[in-house]
């Protein structure tokens, strides 16, 4: 197996450093929010992971189309990597969202558009892997996976807007029209720095994990092929 390209090794290190720095800024540098205190700081990681996972999700849906058009299994491996990493990120998003909700709105869960859609998306991803697990033929597995990811990718945004049209208590931090949304806070300049830095950090981490995961998939594929060759 080819050894790790230098770029990736550097990226690994950069990711770790960025993560540490981002956490430091979020915890120690950003000002404390007045109404809900320190717990607000999870917001930086919460949105960082949410935003990247969401992009990953959209990327995934487009990968479906690419695979179905080209039938090149390489795209299938890329899709699996994207979904897996997005799954992990969304998990963090959901948990952090819940932790934030508890002291802020006195509830562990709010059925607002974003958290709910995140949960549904998470379930779609998990279902994706369960679907793949039940199929042995790699070609069919790839096709079915692509179809399902496509359906999910179209359905989840629709769900989001549907719920949004009906009710929300999710804080709308960057511009928002719903006056009833509690837990709003406007960001000061320092907060904004922490926020965008976290966003940047998680984008980098996503790419790093994504790249690593793709390589893992390629390795897996090679092993499978070698296995076939040796046992035949």
């Amino acid at each position: 197996m080819k050894s790790k390209p230098l770029t990736l090794k550097i990226l690994d290190i950069v990711s770790v450093v960025l993560l540490a720095v981002s956490a430091y800024i979020a915890i120690f540098v950003a000002p404390t929010e007045a109404v809900m205190g320190d717990v607000q700081r999870v917001f930086y990681f919460h949105v960082g992971t949410a935003w990247t996972a969401l992009l990953g999700f959209v990327f995934t849906a487009s990968l479906s189309v690419v695979y179905l058009l080209t039938k090149d299994l390489k795209w299938d491996r890329v899709q699996v990597a994207a979904i897996e990493v997005s799954l992990v990120f969304f998990l963090i998003t959901i948990v952090l969202g819940s932790i934030w909700a508890r002291p802020a709105w006195n509830t562990w869960w709010t059925w607002d558009p974003r958290l709910t859609t995140a949960a549904i998306t998470e379930l779609i991803y998990i279902a994706y892997f369960m679907l793949r697990q039940g199929i042995d033929d790699p070609d069919r597995r790839a096709r079915f996976g692509a179809v399902y990811a496509l359906l999910g990718g179209i359905s989840a945004p629709i769900t989001f807007f549907a719920i949004r049209l009906f009710r929300t208590i999710h804080p709308v931090v960057i511009g928002g029209s719903n006056a009833q949304a509690e837990g709003n806070f406007s960001m000061t300049a320092d907060m904004r720095t922490a926020f965008f830095f976290a966003l940047f950090t998680f984008t980098v981490i996503f790419i790093d994990l994504f790249w690593n995961r793709i390589r893992l998939g390629d390795l897996q594929d090679k092993v499978e092929q070698l296995k076939l060759k040796v046992t035949s």
Binding site: M1, L19, A23, I27, T32, E33, A34, V35, M36, G37, D38, V39, Q40, R41, V42, F45, H46, T49, V85, V88, L91, I92, V95, L96, I99, W100, R102, P103, I205, L209, N212, R213, R215, L216, L219, Q220, K222, V223, L226, K227, K229, V230
Partner: protein, 77 residues
């Protein structure tokens, strides 16, 4: 806004949040690493299995068609 209540101490939640975030990421990275290591081991083992076959073939006297000694491949033929 003159009489501000004291800022509530929610640092416990914050710590829990960050800890969980790091743990989840840590678990994922570890799983990537472990899977990679296992696959590398599988790869090494498979290459071992593959090697003797090609090694034997290359040390044979250049075969013309007849009577190949029984190799793994030969049995297949």
């Amino acid at each position: 806004m003159f009489f501000q209540e004291p800022i509530p101490d929610t640092s416990g939640y914050m710590i829990a949040g960050y800890v969980i975030a790091f743990i989840v990421m840590g678990i994922y990275v570890t799983s990537l690493y472990l899977r990679q290591r296992n696959l590398n081991q599988d790869m090494a083992m498979l290459e071992e299995l593959d090697k003797p076959v090609s090694k034997v073939e290359s040390t044979e006297p250049k075969p013309k068609k007849p009577a190949k000694t029984v190799t793994k491949r030969g049995r297949k033929k």
